[in-house]
């Protein structure tokens, strides 16, 4: 994976930082968020943030594990550097959904998609204001 800065990805990451109010560069990768994650996310929260630190926005956004985050905020509570991984993951979900469709319209969605989407994702879909 080439980690040279790509303008498009840098822009999306700034957008994410703006939306969530978090500073990704603050993370020093101690792994405390991953260690306490009750959802056993894989890729883990710290890895998702490392992807963002390396400028790999798409890798983070397309990671399946963001949908298993239950927003319990354990990671945010424990972070020694005042970064909120839960907020960043929430932001990633929102950006992901926005990329798919600017508005979530349950009626236009296939029953099959709704049946297979995590409830959390559907709820998130209603919350986006970006």
């Amino acid at each position: 994976m080439l980690i040279n800065p790509v303008e498009k990805d840098q822009k999306r990451i700034s957008e994410l930082e703006l939306a969530t109010g978090e500073s990704i560069s603050d993370c020093y990768q101690c792994g405390k968020c991953t260690a306490g994650c009750p959802a056993s996310m894989d890729p883990a929260p710290s890895v998702l943030i490392q992807f963002l630190k390396l400028g790999q926005f798409e890798l983070a956004k397309n990671a399946e594990s963001i949908w298993s985050c239950m927003a319990c905020l354990t990671c945010s509570e424990r972070c020694p550097k005042n970064v909120s991984p839960a907020a960043i993951i929430e932001g990633l979900k929102n950006l992901h959904l926005r990329d798919m469709d600017p508005r979530v319209n349950l009626e236009t969605m296939s029953r099959d998609f709704l049946a297979h989407s995590p409830q959390m994702a559907i709820i998130s879909g209603f919350r986006k204001f970006i």
Binding site: L2, I3, N4, S25, Y28, V47, L54
Partner: protein, 682 residues
């Protein structure tokens, strides 16, 4: 008949737990020659020592045994107490019944028996102890500092301010060392030259400091308080006293070679000062390059010199000066042989002087399949320095372009027991963070990546500094780089990010290696000249890692700065001041007392095998001629210099003719001790 006193210490419960001290005392009182015994809780306490002194005075004891802890702990305490009570201090011996008995046994019965034996051995031994007198030695109150970097400068100023005559020997034409090369210093980012040059000027102007620039220490003889140094003043071909430092000569010199100070990034004239603030501002002619000296052509510098101070016939000059103490501050270099897998660059620290014409052809600075944009930390310092070859603009060496992506690689050569050195080079984490900041400050749109294994930022304000570097845009990637290859006009860096578990690539315009700090290339030779210990890497060894960190293994020689281990500037400066304090303590007396427990040669018995000379680790034994009363040569014999002898006893065991005795540890004493334990052994 001996009158021996035995004092058994309980050491609180430390000894009494596994040794019945009352029983030991009773047993000792029955021994031949013992006239007084005591059994007390803490012999080393003030009342314990009073009891000891009182017994010596009242009972008229002529020898004392203290059965207590290791002699390393309290031998000096009791010997001083005995001296105060009027007994020769060398008639006091310690039987170690704590470290060698009570602490290593659980069974009280066994411990008691062993304590009895240990004490009895000492009782028999002390009957052969002779009263010894300490040697009084003269003391030369002049200090020599080897190396004129920041460590040497700091030590020299501290000593001179206390009124000590100081000489600095520096092999380069100017003081300054590696610190003068630095652009800015962590963690405050103050300009290195701005904080250093005032000190250099202070050294130059101080009436008590003599600077021997462009000189080397060739030989050292003597011992603590009485060293004699042979200093070779290399020919500068410029007369110091006449030169005004006007600069006519180095501006007119038509020839040039790569500048050592600028890490070979630019050329310098053949008659040169290393950098504009050089101290002393007297140029030297590089005799390996000067056509006038090599082929008798040119001589332009002599023509333009106003005060006529250029003398092409000058020769090296040898100075012999006496010193009382020596501070070694020879500093460091960056590891010269960096790896092939990182790309085939020229050996970074190899100065042009040491390159033959053939090697120079093979190692061009220009592009020839080599990665010339891979530089080391010191080269980056010069690029970032306002006084450097690019005037502070960071431009890459190959084409002078401003690099937009720079990769910094930490731990190059360090923490690598396979191809490098196994130790952590300690300062690289910090200087790499500083480099990223210098780069980000100079190139706002640039991006810097740092490949690291761990960030070691233990120091005041250091962790905060690393955080600041990351906030200012440095991207840290945790993993080592496997190789560098050329890709277009860029360098493809193949690394890893172990945090995501992926291999990562960066296409960089320039790569900066945080190369390991290693001792100067000739540090082992310097150690041998000085007669001090060094480790397998070539760092000089301290006497004790915790309690004697600035003393070398030889008395009167102290260590300051990066020649002892990897160090940053604050640590170097503190250590340099510490050596100055040690030298001042040594110079606080008018003459020195030396322990009399040294080897003595029976010169009539000596049969000149010189094994002792070979084995002596302190170079204390010399060959002397014995003469008869008419002054004619009679025979050769070994002589142990009591000033140098540390009483280790190696010569004693090596001596074939048994003509060496170690005072305080004579054969009689040791045999008596062994016989008391194991019966007749002879």
């Amino acid at each position: 008949m001996a009158k021996i006193g035995v004092f058994v210490c309980q050491c609180g419960n430390n000894i009494a737990r596994t040794v019945d001290t009352a029983e030991v005392a009773k047993y000792c009182s029955e021994q031949d020659g013992v006239v007084h015994v005591e059994d007390y809780k803490f012999m080393c306490s003030a009342p314990g020592q009073e009891m000891f002194k009182k017994a010596i005075k009242e009972k008229g004891l002529d020898a004392c045994i203290v059965s207590a802890c290791s002699p390393k702990m309290h031998e000096a305490t009791f010997r001083n107490a005995a001296e105060a009570a009027g007994l020769n201090p060398f008639k006091v011996e310690i039987a170690n019944i704590r470290e060698q008995c009570s602490w290593v046994h659980d069974d009280k019965e066994v411990g008691t028996v062993k304590s009895k034996d240990l004490t009895k051995m000492m009782i028999e031994r002390i009957k052969f102890n002779k009263p010894l007198e300490r040697y009084v030695m003269p003391l030369t109150k002049r200090a020599l500092i080897v190396g004129g970097g920041i460590a040497g400068i700091q030590a020299a100023l501290d000593l001179a301010q206390a009124g000590v005559d100081v000489h600095i020997v520096e092999r380069e034409p100017s003081l300054g060392g590696n610190m003068a090369r630095l652009s800015e210093t962590f963690p405050t980012l103050d300009c290195s030259q701005c904080i250093m040059t005032p000190r250099m000027v202070e050294v130059q102007n101080h009436p008590l400091i003599t600077v021997h620039a462009y000189a080397e220490l060739e030989q050292l003889s003597g011992f603590i308080g009485n060293f004699r140094a042979r200093i070779r003043q290399k020919a500068k071909f410029v007369i110091d006293d006449l030169c005004t430092g006007c600069g006519e000569c180095w501006e007119k010199c038509p020839f040039s070679t790569e500048s050592e100070f600028e890490m070979g990034l630019v050329k310098r004239p053949i008659i040169y000062i290393p950098f504009p603030q050089a101290v002393p501002t007297v140029p030297v002619i590089d005799k390996t390059e000067c056509p006038k000296i090599l082929k008798d052509k040119c001589g332009l510098c002599a023509d333009v010199c106003g005060p006529d101070c250029i003398d092409f016939t000058q020769q090296d000059e040898i100075k012999e000066i006496d010193f009382g103490a020596i501070i070694v501050a020879t500093g460091f270099q960056l590891m010269p042989n960096v790896y092939r897998e990182y790309g085939g660059w020229r050996p970074p620290h190899m100065t042009p002087k040491k390159l033959t014409a053939k090697m120079r052809k093979a190692l061009p600075r220009s592009d020839a399949g080599r990665l010339v944009d891979v530089i080391n930390g010191l080269e980056f310092e010069r690029l970032a320095s306002a006084s450097g070859p690019t005037g502070g603009q960071i431009r890459r060496p190959s084409d002078g372009k401003i690099p937009e992506i720079v990769v910094f690689i930490a731990c190059v050569g360090s923490r690598d027991c396979n191809k490098g050195v196994e130790y952590c080079s300690k300062i690289c984490c910090m200087y790499t963070a500083k480099h990223t900041m210098l780069y980000q400050h100079a190139v706002h749109h640039g991006k810097s990546y740092v490949f690291y294994m761990d960030i070691r930022a233990g120091g005041k304000g250091y962790e905060e500094f690393i955080n600041r570097a990351q906030d200012e845009g440095a991207q840290y990637v945790r993993g080592r780089v496997s190789r560098l290859t050329k890709k277009g006009d860029r360098i493809l860096v193949k690394g890893a990010d172990t945090l995501t578990g992926q291999a990562v690539d960066v296409e960089a315009d320039m790569v900066v290696l945080a190369t390991a700090m290693v001792p100067q290339g000739d540090s082992e030779q310097v150690a041998q000249t000085l007669g001090i210990g060094y480790d397998k890497h070539g760092f000089f060894s301290e006497q004790h890692p915790k309690l004697m960190p600035v003393e070398s293994s030889t008395g009167g020689i102290f260590l300051a700065g990066a020649c002892q281990s990897v160090k940053d500037i604050p640590e170097t400066v503190s250590q340099a001041s510490a050596t100055a304090a040690k030298v001042l303590a040594l110079f606080s007396k008018d003459e020195m007392m030396r322990d009399p427990e040294v080897a003595i040669v029976d010169q009539e018995k000596c049969m000149n095998c010189w094994d002792c000379v070979t084995v002596c680790p302190y170079l204390a034994i010399e060959r002397v001629e014995l003469k008869d009363r008419n002054g004619n040569f009679r025979k050769w014999a070994a002589y142990v210099n009591p000033g140098l002898c540390q009483g280790c006893g190696i010569c004693n065991t090596a001596c074939r003719s048994k003509s060496i005795e170690l005072m305080g540890y004579t054969n009689e004493q040791v045999y008596a001790q062994i016989t008391a334990f194991g019966g007749d052994i002879i």
